[in-house]
Amino acid sequence: MPAFSFNDTLVLAATMFSVGLAGVLVRRNMVFMLMSLDIMLNAAALVFVAAGARWHDATGQVMFVLILALAAVETAVGLAIILRLHAHGRPTLDADAGNLLEG
């Protein structure tokens, strides 16, 4: 007996996705952008899990694990880039300052 109906889950996921998207679009701090991205990914993962529960299919959970790994990797790579930029003498975290690929 599910605590939430499938529809409620979808609404929650959509809200999470919108929050994440807004975060990506509005924030200029790269760390916050990464966090927002993670929220979007989690929203997608939530839909997978909910759909798996709804149709009694394990594939949804498999996809969730996949997304989890993907999110971890993405965060790791993103943070590594930020650190790298920092080490190259660019102390800002502003994403818009990096629009010219001049190194």
Partner: protein, 635 residues
């Protein structure tokens, strides 16, 4: 037997040429000369053997050799095939024997030249190509030889390439003959399209069967005539031959006098059945031949360069042959071709020896009185000159020219069905040409060998060079007695040899015809003696004094007009092509600039979108997704 020997005949000089080219100068001058003479000499021996074989056979016998198929496609086939009949027999004998004599002479003449290997390589290649030309039984195969001799001629005219004038002369010769070659090729294409084969026999059979329409025959004959005219330096293509004298003298003797320039005569004689069906073209041939022989004679009269005199006389003599061809007496044309090869080779070789000993002085007015310094060469040159002039009875030239003249007298050109023209005016002009011939050649003889001494002669003519001169002397004096007019002891060995089935008969020939032919050269000789020969003559020693020489410029107009025209055409063409090229480049540049500016403007617009801000990109993605979803859902 003969089927085996005929390919070998071509192979001998070809192999010699290949050996010389591949050794690239590692053989000494003597070695190169030996290889070349051996190659051509073997060809000469082989040609004598095959002629014995052929003549001992039946009268109409011919030997056909098909070596391998060349191109066999649907609707057309050509083979590499040789054929030996009476006409080609005469030609191979002339080519190989005169060629051998000239090669022997050249071995002496060229021995000090550093490029002797290239020279003999080209000369032997020329002999091979010429043999292909005369032996081919397929007109396309003939075309190999036809272009091959042109190429060798080009290489040899420009042999001393250090002087740009020589290479220019070489290119001029090639271009002008190439125009004719294209015409010939068109003629071949026309015949090939209608008959499906270019075998001489098949083509002639198709033409005589009426398989080719009358206009087709005329067109083909016209195209082939144009090719022959260009190759034989006839009006209107005469301008290249005098310039071709830039090559070494043995080349001038072999290629530009004895053999290659007569290839056109051979071609028309070979296809005489086709030309017989095209009466207007025949008449055109005769008229052009007459015109050429007069033009050549007049031009030769006003030259001051020894080799150029001989070149113009070659043009004029080949004009006689074309006249004979146009009148249908192709046997006479071939007879004159043979005797002309003898005496013109002799004249050139003697002139070459004279020029060599006179320290490369070619101006006849600076030579003079050489009869004391070089009596042997004087005898040789006078022998050649009298044969050229056709002094009666004792020279070969008399008999061949007589045969042509009597042929021209008897001809009637049936231009349309019921309108025909007699050949008597042409006969008169040919007689005038004979007078001119005697005049100009003895002018040359008297100025060069008699009169006041000019340049000092040095050295002596080597043995290698004198032997061929002696042989050619004998041939040009006595080589003509095999065919005599009916008025004299009737002897027709040559025409019987060529065409045993239908001997030429001129039973109703008036005696005064022969007499006229005999007296005219003598008159020319006498006039030349009066003008230039006597110690106190009017013209003697005076280059521009009165008379004909003063009219040099005006008389030489026909020499200059085609010359100027071809130079101008060449210049114009080059200027125009350069202009087209620059216009084209400018146009493309404009196009590129135009396209570039449009691209730039477009790029500015796109640049706004690509500002490198990641958040914008994300927004674009999200917005695009929304739009796509909306479209997908709403539609």
């Amino acid at each position: 037997m003969a089927t085996f020997l005929i390919p070998l005949l071509v192979l001998c000089p070809l192999a010699a040429s290949l050996i010389i080219f591949i050794s690239t100068g590692r053989m000494g001058a003597r070695g190169v000369g030996t290889v070349a003479c051996a190659g051509v000499g073997m060809a000469a021996v082989l040609s004598i053997i095959v002629s014995v074989i052929l003549l001992s056979g039946p009268a109409t016998g011919e030997v056909q050799v098909t070596l391998w198929p060349w191109m066999h496609v649907a609707g057309f086939s050509a083979d590499i095939a040789f054929m030996l009949d009476r006409i080609s027999l005469v030609m191979i004998l002339v080519v190989t024997i005169v060629g051998l004599l000239i090669h022997v002479y050249a071995a002496g003449y060229m021995q000090d030249d550093p490029g002797i290997a290239r020279f003999f390589g080209c000369m032997t290649l020329f002999v091979a190509a010429m043999l292909v030309l005369v032996l081919a039984s397929d007109l396309l195969c003939l075309f190999i030889g036809w272009e091959g001799v042109g190429l060798c001629s080009y290489l040899l005219i420009g042999f001393w390439y250090d002087d740009p004038a020589n290479t220019a002369a070489a290119r001029k010769a090639f271009y002008m003959t190439r125009v004719g070659d294209v015409a010939l090729l068109c003629g071949l294409l026309l015949l090939a399209t209608t008959t499906g084969s270019l075998r001489t026999g098949a083509v002639l059979a198709a033409v005589t069967n009426g398989q080719v329409s009358a206009s087709g025959v005329s067109m083909a004959a016209f195209f082939i005539l144009a090719g022959a005219l260009a190759k034989s330096a006839q009006v209107p293509f005469q301008a290249w031959l005098p310039d071709a004298m830039a090559g070494p003298t043995p080349t001038s003797a072999l290629i530009h006098a004895a053999t290659m320039v007569t290839a056109g005569v051979y071609l028309i004689a070979r296809l005489h059945d086709l030309f017989a069906m095209a009466a207007p073209v025949m008449a055109l041939t005769a008229v052009l031949g007459t015109l050429t022989l007069l033009v050549g004679g007049c031009a030769a009269l006003v030259q001051s360069d020894l080799k150029r005199i001989l070149a113009w006389s070659t043009i004029s003599q080949v004009g006689y042959m074309f006249l004979a061809l146009g009148c249908g007496v192709w046997q006479a044309a071939l007879f004159h071709l043979m005797t002309h090869a003898f005496f013109k080779a002799l004249l050139f070789l003697a002139a070459g020896a004279v020029i060599m000993r006179a320290r490369h002085e070619q101006d006849i007015f600076r030579l003079g009185g050489l009869r004391h310094a070089m009596p042997g060469l004087t005898v040789a040159f006078v022998a050649g000159a009298s044969a050229l002039a056709g002094l009666p009875l004792v020279t070969a030239g008399f008999y061949s020219k007589e045969m042509i003249l009597s042929g021209v007298w008897h001809v009637r050109f049936g231009l349309t069905r019921d309108w025909s023209v007699t050949g008597h005016p042409l006969w008169a002009m040919a007689l005038l040409g004979a007078f001119l011939t005697a005049l100009y050649i003895f002018r040359c003889v008297f100025i060069v060998f008699f009169g006041k001494p000019g340049t000092v002669a040095a050295g002596r003519t080597s043995r290698l060079m004198t032997i061929p001169l002696g042989c050619l002397c004998i041939l040009s004096l006595f080589g003509g007695v095999i065919e005599m007019p009916d008025t004299l002891p009737s002897l027709h060995l040559f025409s019987a040899l060529l065409d045993p089935a239908t001997p030429l008969s001129h039973a109703d020939e008036p005696v005064w015809l022969v007499l006229a032919g005999a007296i005219v050269p003598l008159a020319g000789l006498a006039l030349a003696w009066m003008l230039w020969g006597r110690p106190s003559s009017v013209m003697h020693g005076a280059r521009t004094g009165g008379g004909l020489d003063a009219r040099h410029d005006r008389l030489a107009i026909w020499q200059h007009i085609p010359d100027r025209a071809s130079t101008a055409a060449g210049g114009l063409m080059r200027a125009a092509s350069v202009r087209v090229f620059t216009i084209r480049a400018g146009f493309l540049d404009m196009l590129a600039r135009w396209g570039g500016s449009i691209g730039d403007r477009g790029a500015l617009l796109l640049d706004r979108l690509h500002n490198g801000r990641m958040r914008w990109y994300a927004a674009w993605i999200a917005g695009g997704l929304c739009v796509a979803l909306a479209v997908a859902v709403l539609s």
